[in-house]
Amino acid sequence: MAGLSLQNLQKTYGKVEVIKGVNLEIEHGEFVVFVGPSGCGKSTLLRMIAGLEDITGGELSIGGQVVNAMQPRDRGVAMVFQSYALYPHMTVYDNVGFGLRIKKTPKDERDAKIREAARILQMEHLLDRKPAQLSGGQRQRVAIGRAIVRQPEVFLFDEPLSNLDASLRMDMRMEISKLHQDLGATMIYVTHDQVEAMTLADKIVVLNAGVVQQVGSPLELYHRPANLFVAGFIGSPKMNFLDVTIDEIGSGVVTVSGPDMKPVSIPVATDGLKVGAALTLGTRPHQMQAADHGPITATVALVEHLGNETIVSLRLPSGKAIVAALDGDFPVTHGATLHLTPEASKAVLFDAHGTALQVT
């Protein structure tokens, strides 16, 4: 059983603080995705878990054992790199079996494990080739195979699909997901691609500037983002944000309006709220209805017909841009005026600090 526990984990380079006290619990067998923009520290955090970066402060435990000072090879982790990192002078067979060779695993056992990994990843026909003779997808398979044969407690993936083309990326995503189900091992996956994060994860950890912004299931993050950063980062197209003020406070509901929006009532915990307070209303493009009337009036700036839906970019009276995802058959033309209604039950209100208000 190999769960992970990160207690106030810190990393500094000189005076630059890269990871600022991360606390995180990962259960055995969970698929956890670290997601965030470039430079947020997600890869550094993964490398700290792998043992490739020293831990400046805090405590990292794998399977209940503190591993801060432990060598990478003793941590029971295997890592798949973005660049695959295959040994160019070795065949696929030798690449996959390298770790076992180092461990002095008997030849028969080694051979059986290599062939089993090759079978799982459907690359038996590639075993005699060198990495240079493989396509990107095949190389990635070999890199995963190299991780599998070691039967690690924890798999670490550092943006493993970012060098692949779109269709191959989708295939590999499904394969990794299947691999997780088959092996039942703990997997930690770093990506900046939120589609990968949403589709693969049991649990997503959103990072920004070395700080965990929110931890939760994909749908939790999508529907109940903890702050403006998470709200803006998760979901495509991005969530729309409107400046509003509180007009009226009812029982478990506030009515808000702003320069670009007529009054709308949003269900929310009203403790501590004051009439006149400035808030930000977040509403997803897929959670806005277009009709003859509505609290938001905007001019169509761009129409993208995707068939199943139509993505409409609109300009508000204040000059701000918003996006609405409408029905694929919805008649809309460039320059037209649309009236939109945000789905009040799914809209999120953020206070002046960008923190989401609790829902009743």
């Binding site: 792998a50 043992g51 490739l52 060598q71 990478p72 090879r73 982790v77 295997a78 890592m79 790199f81 973005q82 660049s83 990192a85 295959l86 040994y87 160019p88 002078h89 390298f98 770790g99 180092i102 461990k103 190299r146 070691r150």
Partner: protein, 292 residues
């Protein structure tokens, strides 16, 4: 290969080849002169230098100069000494310098940048300036050999080998090559459980063939061409290398034919070594961006 289409293109390519052949001939001429002259008696050799005959094996051709060279100096011993000293130094320095470079590039330790800078800075110190202090140092060092502990290294093989086992240029060459290798290779091997030495020997060395070849050639040439140091540290001919042996031929009356025969003989190992490693040498020079 690109198809040659227009006469204009053909002319361009012809000119390019003509130029390349011309340059090749200029470089080959001295070697041809040396080899051809080694078969000629002195009188004819000197007479031919005023004409193109100097490059042609015509006239009184014989192996007399070679026999005379062997009579005048222990050529075989000199060549043996040189090859022994050179090959041991090359093997030792490739091993030591590549490991040092590996540490500088892949390991983290305090002050590594400063140490590396100091090593590279020594590239600008000419050997002549440190030759005498070095002589004094090796003259007072102990050595454990067949005769137990002896003091002073003069008149030995190891005095010609040990001081040259590590040098800044070779370390620098390896550092440059290793820096261009993806760091993930090392990290992947570490995660696979490899020790630092296993990472070096099983992952890095096998893919560093070109830089090993380059370093080997440069070191081989430098060692094989050594003159000043062996002249200073070897008094008996038992340990002397080929370049020091050359002075046997510049006595009162220089026998040029014998000089040429001797030079032809001692050039052969260098040519053979270079041709053997040529392909890898060119790859590496191109990839490290170091051009001589």
């Amino acid at each position: 290969m690109a198809a040659v289409t227009s006469p204009n293109q053909r002319l361009k390519i012809s000119l390019k080849y003509l130029l390349l052949i011309l340059v090749a001939v200029i470089f080959v001429f001295p070697i041809v002169f040396m080899v051809v002259s080694s078969f000629k008696p002195d009188l004819q050799l000197l007479r031919d230098t005023s004409s193109f005959n100097a490059f042609l094996p015509i006239g009184d051709i014989s192996l007399d100069n070679y026999f005379a060279a062997f009579r005048r100096a222990p050529v075989g011993l000199f060549v043996f000494n040189s090859i022994l000293v050179t090959s041991l130094t090359v093997v030792g320095s490739l091993f030591l310098c590549s490991m040092a470079a590996f540490a500088f590039v892949f390991l983290e330790f305090r002050g590594k940048e400063i140490v590396l800078s100091i090593i590279i800075a020594t590239l600008i110190v000419p050997f002549e300036t440190i030759a005498v202090p070095m002589l004094m140092v090796v003259n007072s060092l102990p050595w454990i050999g067949g005769n137990g502990v002896t003091w002073g290294w003069l008149n030995t093989y190891h005095v010609q080998i040990v001081p040259f086992l590590a040098d800044a240029l070779t370390v620098f060459l390896f550092v440059q090559f290793f820096r261009d290798l993806p760091k993930e290779l090392v990290e992947a091997a570490r995660l696979d459980g490899a020790s630092w030495f296993q990472v070096y020997s099983m992952v890095i060395v096998p893919i560093a063939g070109p830089v090993f070849a380059t370093a080997a050639i440069l070191k081989f040439l430098a060692m094989y061409n050594q003159y000043l140091w062996p002249l200073m540290v070897t008094q008996s001919e038992q340990f002397r290398p080929v370049m020091v042996g050359l002075q046997y031929f510049f006595q009162l009356n220089t026998a040029w034919g014998e000089v040429m025969a001797y030079l032809s003989m001692i050039t052969l190992p260098v040519l053979a070594f270079y041709i053997f490693l040529q392909r890898a040498f060119i790859t590496s020079i191109a990839s490290t961006g170091i051009k001589g």
